[in-house]
Amino acid sequence: MIKIESATKYFSDVCSLDAVTMRIPDGSIFGLIGSNGSGKSTLLRAMSGIFALDKGYVLYDGFNIWENTEQKAKLVYLSDEPFFLPHSSIGEMRDLYRSLYPTFSDTKFEQLLKVLGLPEHRKINTFSKGMQKQTSVLLGLSVCPKYLFCDETFDGLDPVMRHLVKRILMDDIAERGTTVVIASHNLRELEDVCDHIALLHKGTLLFQRELDDMKLNIQKIQAVFTDECAEEKLRTLPLLNLERRGSMYTIVARGTRDELENELQKMHPQFCECIPLTLEEIFISEMEENGYDFHDILA
């Protein structure tokens, strides 16, 4: 488990992380979301041992990460701007990673290289941005890390490749139980991979939840009522949002699926169906409940 306790980081007079405390369970896929400048990257870098915290600490299974080579050997940090040696090829980068990480797997490397279809001997500086991102994922996963930190890793990838990379990540997690922390400002990108979410705003952790918990307690239902008084009745529910288009109502309300469906059935709808909530909708609901305007936070 990664334990972050009162992590505080200042850049000159600007507070980039303000006493952030969170727990990241082993084997989870943890999404860090927030707008630009919210402190996502800073937190990832502090977790990777790149930045020294001004206050607080980051512990891996009880051990501080700062200048701790044994713990650092278990993690790989994939930066938003991947690092490659000047004029190097994937083969040379493999040699570098192999010299740094005792857990580096040549088999895994060959396997992923084949899947991604990247040229091993071409200079990386001739690659497109997307290919460079793929290369960094390839190298990072070949290390077989216990912890993988991805900072805007899916940026610059085309939809097909994004899907492929996500699948590779999923396979790796399923195979080895890797703990992945993904920082992004794009909720849609995270919703189909993450099981935990944390929202940062201006260096402060607004909340951290398990995604399933959030989804279980908020439901989105579409229902058709011919009764003109339906809206009045619907307002008796623990509503988070209510929209009407003609006789069709879209309801976002707090509660379990069964509870809400039972209540609605009592109102005799002509049609009633539970539909999946997007992560964005869940966040809007959660944030509004916490007194924030979500659109201001994730502008």
């Binding site: 501080n64 080579t69 050997a73 701007e81 991947p82 040699d95 010299s99 740094l100």
Partner: protein
């Protein structure tokens, strides 16, 4: 909260693996070094051997030539190694200059100490291996040509050691600079500042301190600054003069390693996010900024003072120099020209402090210039006259000399006293009007008529370690009895007698003919025995060796002290009875004036015997050697019948003043 480190075995294996990778990555550095050093040492040696084999007939000459070659190559190797250190030092830990790169390097399972050591060591080995290889190949080539000589190999090995230490010194300074900078340009700039700025500050302070001084000089401060802050220069001097080389090598090594360790400590706590910032510490930025402004102020002041003259222009130039420096440094440190005027209040405060320092020391409000410490507080005095420095520790001598200096300064508070015009001016009028020599010009500017003077540098070292250094130039014709008293106090000192020996040859007819004659007690190749060898060499186009050097016109190279140091000081006889041309010319000498510089009394000699006797004892020499070698109390002016001067103003050799001269 707990922390742990990886097991030593696993850590070592990982470190070895990474280090091997670094070495492999640095192959271009290794190859470049190898090409440069092999070309420099091996190819040139091969060319030299093949050339000199054709040039010399004897093995002795061949060895001498190779020794000379090895010495030259040693100096070139040191220079090249220093340049390589700067170049490769720029590339060492270059990831510190990029945010992306630093994030990678600081996230990998390597401690900062490990990274620092691995990077430095890899670059150093990429230099050391080719360097040793090139020297090894040189020795083999000598063996192949059957020219093995221990002294030559010794010079080559000493060159190897010196070059490696020079490389280390500059490389460590570059790495140290890297530890507190975040851009490539700033690294080079800061390394330059580390090397030169402390010396520059001391020199600038010394300049201000000596700005209006008549007597006070601070050569000790200059020497100290250069010795402490420029160990490379001190080492270079030591290597060239083969003096205390070991001590200087150790000093340079210690200084280099100290920089390296300091760099490691800074890097250990350096913040990763500061890459891309020219100087990572605000304190270091301020120190660099104000130190550069100070040097810029002094340089600006000197520039304006030289053009326009006067204290006002010095101040004006200083302020402009400081402002320009501030603008430049601000631009570099902030990477934006828009920030060039940042910190104007600081600039104002700097100007105030600078003016205060200038008024206090430059204008000498505290009266340091004329101050001579009391004898009781003086530990010892060192006196430099001519080329020789000697130390006085005898209490009586210290008392006499300090009193004499004090009286002299009191009697001659400014240089204006030299402006009195002597009767001798009538005799020397023509010479004054046609002055060409620098010394003559200087004398003319003071309206003196004799260029005979004694320069001495007297350093009073107090028991508390303070140093008061006075520079005194005595013109025997104008400084009166205080000058005479000072010279007497000096000449009467026990240590003076020990330091200088009798310069008068026991037999004036036995002429020393060359530098080699004095240095090595052997005739050089100008003589009959050596002539064919030299001719042979000259035909092969071989020039410029000390071995063939000879003083111009029957020079007399004199030893100034008894410390086995030889100074190639040329003293030319006005008249040489062994020279046919002069023997003929002596008949054309019509008369000689001899002036007693102390009393101003002039005597004219016209008879042949007196002229011959005076000529045999009369020499002329360059400025400051006069006191050491010649008798300053007399000026000898030799004229032909047509009234034209026969030679520069001469003086008698010390102790050889003819009896009939008053």
């Amino acid at each position: 909260m707990t922390s742990t480190t990886s097991s030593p075995k696993r850590r070592n294996a990982s470190s070895r693996s990474y280090f091997a990778f670094l070495l492999k990555q640095n192959w271009p550095v290794l190859i470049t070094n190898a090409v440069i050093l092999v070309l420099l040492n091996v190819i040139t040696l091969y060319m030299d051997i093949t050339e000199t084999e054709a040039m010399f007939s004897t093995r002795e000459s061949m060895i001498r030539s190779m020794q000379e070659f090895a010495r030259v190559m040693r100096a070139i190797n040191i220079l090249v190694s220093s340049c390589l250190a700067v170049v490769w030092g720029c590339g060492c830990m270059s990831y510190l200059n990029s945010k992306t790169n630093i994030q990678f390097y600081h996230s990998i399972p390597k401690t900062r100490i490990s990274l620092y050591i691995s990077e430095s060591l890899a670059k150093f080995l990429c230099y050391l291996i080719p360097m040793c290889l090139s020297v090894g190949l040189s020795v083999i080539i000598m063996g192949v040509h059957r020219e093995w000589n221990l002294s030559v190999i010794g010079i080559q090995l000493s060159g190897l050691i010196c070059s490696v230490i020079y490389f280390l010194l500059y490389f460590c300074i570059m790495v140290f600079a890297a530890s507190f900078t975040g851009t490539a340009f700033a690294r080079i700039m800061n390394a330059g500042l580390v090397v030169f700025l402390p010396s520059a500050i001391v020199l600038c302070l010394t300049y201000i301190w000596s700005y209006n001084a008549v007597y006070s000089v601070h050569t000790w401060a200059t020497e100290l600054a250069l010795k402490i802050f420029l160990p490379a220069r001190t080492l270079m001097v030591a290597v060239e003069e083969s003096e205390n080389v070991l001590g200087e090598l150790i000093l340079a090594l210690v200084v280099g390693l100290a920089f390296w360790v300091l760099g490691l400590l800074i890097y250990r706590f350096r913040k990763s996010e500061l890459s891309g910032t020219p100087v990572i510490s605000k304190v270091a930025s301020a120190v660099i900024k104000y130190a550069c402004m100070f040097c810029g102020a002094v340089v600006g002041g000197i520039f304006f003072e030289a053009i326009a003259g006067g204290d006002g222009w010095f101040i004006c130039g200083a302020l402009i120099g400081a402002l320009l420096c501030m603008m430049l440094i601000n631009t570099i440190l902030t990477k934006s020209a828009k920030q060039m005027f940042r910190g104007l209040p600081g600039f104002g405060a700097f100007c105030g402090v600078f003016l205060a320092v200038f008024v206090l020391f430059g204008v000498d409000l505290v009266g340091m210039d004329g101050y001579v410490p009391h004898a009781a507080g003086i530990k010892y005095i060192t006196v430099t006259t001519g080329d020789t420095t000697f130390r006085m520790e005898d209490r009586e001598d210290i008392e006499n000399l300090s009193d004499a200096v004090r009286e002299y300064i009191k009697a001659n508070p400014t240089r204006e006293s030299y402006r009195s015009v002597s009767a001798i001016e009538i005799i020397e009028k023509e010479r004054i009007e046609s002055v060409t020599h620098e010394t003559d010009e200087m004398v003319y500017s003071y309206k003196s008529v004799s260029n005979s003077f004694c320069y001495m540098n007297i350093r009073f070292v107090t028991r508390l370690g303070f140093i008061y250094e006075k520079s005194i130039t005595i013109y025997p014709a104008y400084t009166g009895e205080e000058g005479a008293k000072l010279l007497t106090a000096l000449a009467d000192a026990e240590e003076f007698a020990d330091a200088y020996f009798d310069l008068v040859p026991s037999d004036v007819n036995v002429r020393i003919t060359s530098v080699n004659h004095i240095r090595n007690d052997q005739m050089d190749v100008w003589n009959e025995k050596g002539y064919p060898e030299r001719l042979r060499a000259m035909r092969a186009g071989y020039n410029g060796m000390d071995y063939f050097q000879r003083g111009t016109f029957l020079s007399l190279s004199c030893r100034g002290a008894q410390d086995d140091q030889w100074y190639p000081t040329y003293v030319y006889p006005v008249y040489d009875i062994t020279d046919n041309e002069w023997r003929a010319l002596v008949n054309t000498i019509s008369y000689i004036y001899v002036m007693n510089n102390e009393t101003g009394e002039i005597t004219k000699y016209e008879d042949a015997d007196s002229i011959r006797a005076i000529c045999e004892s009369t020499y002329f020499a360059q400025g400051s050697t006069v006191f050491t070698l010649l008798d300053s109390y007399y000026g000898v002016y030799v004229y032909f019948a047509d009234g034209q001067p026969a030679a520069s103003t001469g003086a008698f050799v010390r102790g050889l003043v003819p009896d009939f001269i008053p």
